[in-house]
């Protein structure tokens, strides 16, 4: 009976239109990182849409409305689940879509539909709600270790302040050089900033959102928003693009109204500080660096120019670009909660990023996402091409 239930309940009307509007032209395949490393059109964007149309036709089509819904094809459902979860949700397909389908938001909505039917998520993604309920983070690591192992003793955190910093789970547990750089730079700017306690700074909800598991989201988000509200926060700064994305786009929806503070990516906050003369990068760096745009920062919230402007403010630096950058940036393989399940794909994508950076003769690959940082570093292990990988704030903090 489950598969006869409507397939459009979790979709916005605009997303139903988008599914219908796909011309199946196949242009997006040239931009899909999963296609690049698997070469398998069965997991491609138009194939996912084609299959989902079949499901809609079975339960909500004209025939279904007249004679009653029919069972969606079980084998096709299995194929669809694999395809939709193998995707990194980078959104490059949508960016290059001939009709402009917003796939970065469509794929998570389709995943939610699969979760509702008990068909998703897959692999370790299914443990995320339990891990977050147990420990407040998707890695199921103790809250007490969230800041303690890496937080610099020299940095003072205010009890209450207008500015708050959210470290994020991946930064705190898997990409610590990045969060160390963040707090060192915030400290150097000189404005007091506050943070929630390690027990209160729980997951932002992005891993649950992106894997289609929405049950815990309202509680998590309400807890975080109320926590910052109680500290008198007016600007919440974060360096993780995925966190920033859900904060800016979805927190208001789950919170039930406008947030009582603004969301800023750390590069925006740091650039403002550089422009205002609050942060001076006195040391020179005579290197060519290449900056990788995280998908959820560039295509997600349009933060493209600020990281480059921060880099260009470093004396002596030369900033190179990937062939595909900005809104057209290429996924490094870490997105969409797929990296833990489709590890080989993620490693292959990470290595392509490294290879291009090396081919461009960059001295350093600059990242600004903890997931990219963790996975691209992992991809470099045992790889023929090697390059120094540095987070943007890790770099800036070393030049103050």
């Amino acid at each position: 009976m489950k598969n006869k239930r409507s397939f459009i309940e979790e979709l916005l009307p605009s997303q139903i239109l988008e599914i219908d509007a796909c011309t199946l032209c196949g242009e997006c395949l040239k931009h899909c990182p999963v296609q690049d490393v698997t070469g398998n059109p069965a997991v491609s964007p138009p194939e996912k849409i084609r299959m989902f149309r079949e499901f809609i036709r079975a339960t909500d089509g004209l025939k279904a409305r007249i004679f009653g819904p029919s069972e969606a094809d079980r084998k096709m459902l299995e194929d669809f689940v694999k395809a939709v979860y193998e995707c990194t949700t980078c959104g490059a397909c949508g960016q290059n879509c001939t009709v402009g389908i917003f796939t970065q938001r469509l794929w998570p909505a389709l995943r939610k539909e699969m979760v509702k039917r008990g068909l998703g998520p897959i692999g370790v993604q299914a443990n995320l709600p339990n891990a977050i309920r147990n420990s407040g983070n998707p890695y199921d690591k103790p809250a007490v270790d969230r800041y303690k192992p890496w937080f610099p003793e020299t940095v003072k955190v205010a009890e209450r302040a207008a500015v708050a910093y959210y470290a994020g789970c991946t930064g705190a547990y898997e990409a610590q050089p990045m969060v160390i750089g963040d707090v060192l730079v915030l400290n150097a700017i000189g404005e007091p900033f506050t943070m929630l306690s390690p027990e209160d700074e729980v997951c932002c909800g992005f891993p649950l959102f992106i894997s289609g598991q929405h049950d815990e989201l309202k509680d998590l988000i309400t807890k975080l928003v109320n926590g910052y509200k109680a500290k008198g926060v007016t600007v919440l700064v974060c360096s993780c693009p995925c966190c920033v994305n859900i904060m800016a786009r979805d927190w208001p929806l789950f919170y039930g109204g406008a947030l009582p503070f603004k969301i800023r990516h750390i590069t925006q906050y740091v650039l403002d500080a550089v422009k205002a003369g609050k942060l001076r990068l006195s040391k020179e760096l005579h290197e060519s660096v290449i900056y990788h745009d995280p998908c959820y920062l560039s295509r997600g919230v349009g933060v493209i120019e600020e990281p480059r402007a921060v880099l260009r403010s470093i004396p002596g630096i030369r900033v190179l670009e990937f062939e595909r950058h900005g809104l057209n940036s290429q996924c490094c393989g870490s997105g969409g909660a797929a990296r833990k399940v489709f590890h080989e794909n993620a490693i292959a994508m990470g290595r392509r990023t490294i290879d291009e950076a090396v081919a461009k003769k960059a001295d350093r690959l600059i990242l600004s996402c903890p997931a990219c940082y963790a996975k691209v570093n992992e991809a470099m292990k045992g790889h023929a091409n090697q390059i120094q990988i540095t987070d943007i704030m890790e770099l800036v903090s070393g030049l103050i």
Partner: protein, 165 residues
């Protein structure tokens, strides 16, 4: 970022398809509006371009290595429109049906007063294939432009997601 060769073909196809449709309005309207008269010559030229553009698209989609995905439904539609337009060209250039009979036949269907079927076999194949096309007509011709407009608005609003409003 799109394949420019394919894009040119797609534009020529869609524009010529629209002009050919406009030219065919003379079979459905009486009296024929002035605009439809004006569109007869452009529609005639478009009628020749239409099958050529479809052949071009088909060759690029099936033979270019760059194209990794070709949906069977798309190829079917492409072949169907190609057949309809090729027969249309044949009727225009060589095997002309009686246009008065054709118009009476179409008019008869529209007014629920069936008229005699025109004697041209090509016309009947052309007409039947159009009926098949109507039943398989992709709804993206309606939803596509709406989504395109939304995408344009979204692109403009991207800078408002997290930047100062």
């Amino acid at each position: 970022m799109v394949n420019p060769a394919l894009w040119i073909g797609e534009w020529v196809f869609h524009a010529s398809f629209l002009l050919v449709l406009a030219r065919h309005l003379r079979f459905f309207l009486n009296p024929i509006p002035l605009l439809v008269w004006y569109l007869q010559t452009p529609g005639l030229i478009a009628g020749y371009l239409l099958p050529l553009s479809l052949l071009y698209i088909l060759i690029i989609r099936l033979c270019t290595k760059q194209e990794k995905y070709a949906a069977p439904a798309n190829v079917f539609l492409l072949c169907l429109v190609l057949a309809i337009s090729a027969i249309g060209v044949l009727m225009q250039a060589q095997f002309k049906p009686d246009l008065i009979d054709a118009k009476l036949f179409i008019y008869g269907i529209m007014s629920f007063t069936p008229a005699a079927v025109p004697g041209s076999v090509l016309f009947m194949i052309h007409f039947l294939l159009v009926l098949v096309l109507i039943s398989f007509l992709p709804t993206h011709i309606v939803t596509g432009p709406i989504v395109m407009l939304e995408a344009r608005k979204r692109e403009q609003a991207l800078q408002l997601v997290i930047h100062e409003k």
